[in-house]
Symmetry: C2
Subunit: 141 residues, 2 copies
């Protein structure tokens, strides 16, 4: 289960990234260099998929590519960068907390809007029914 390798297509399916995006991440240095077969094709390992999962996590929480690259480079540089890495993660975690708060406030505002519109709709329907009833009255007379 550990030494399995994957083609770029398989990795794309596993990570929900497109093939060009994965290549782009590697050429940008966000994804560390991937092993190659004799013919030059990328041969991905579970470790590479791990890096991509990390990249997705950081991207999905709004971290720019450049900063992710910085973090990954620190990881590759080794022990001396451990404090920098921890600090970056903690700082980033705080921004994610902020995003969560902002987002749930917006969510509440949207719910409020929905209810407001629903009440509006009730009134509109009531008015239409009233008009319809009046028209029926007119027909009868």
């Amino acid at each position: 289960m550990e030494n399995k390798t994957y083609t770029i297509k398989e990795v794309a399916e596993k990570t929900n990234l497109t093939i060009p995006t994965i290549r782009y991440y590697e050429t940008e240095g966000v994804l560390p260099p991937v092993e190659r077969s004799e013919s030059g094709n990328r041969v991905f390992t579970d470790s590479d998929i791990g890096w991509l999962d990390l990249i997705c996590c950081l991207r999905g929480t709004g971290m720019p590519i450049k900063k992710i690259k910085q973090f990954v480079q620190w990881c590759l540089e080794g022990d001396d960068t451990i404090d920098d890495r921890i600090e970056m993660l903690i700082e980033h975690g705080k921004t994610v907390d902020e995003q969560l708060e902002v987002l749930s406030n917006y969510k509440a505002a949207i719910e409020w809007k929905i209810n407001y519109h629903r009440e509006m709709k009730m009134q509109i329907d009531a008015r239409r029914n009233a008009v319809r009833l009046m028209e029926q009255q007119d027909l009868k007379s």
Copy 2:
């Protein structure tokens, strides 16, 4: 408190948008046309600020400008669009729920990473201390 008017600068401060962004929203038709003074300057009301708050809420939850424009246009068209508006808000609300879930999963992953790195740091420090102690031993001998 209701008939107060504002300059574009004041609105920018109130909404945390830049002046060009507010103008951009109006020219794009996302913000309904704002009243003008005799000299052609925009004169904002609380209602305009309300629109901008809505726009910020929808933008901040990932709705593209075009769709916001659609929603605002529906609002201006009146009663007949009430069902469309409610449907859009409900659908959008669902995507916000998804965003919240994804984001809190990512947040958990980051916390996990932080702890992982902290444990790593403990080991690195322990190893460094061990080396330091051994060097002191060497000096004594």
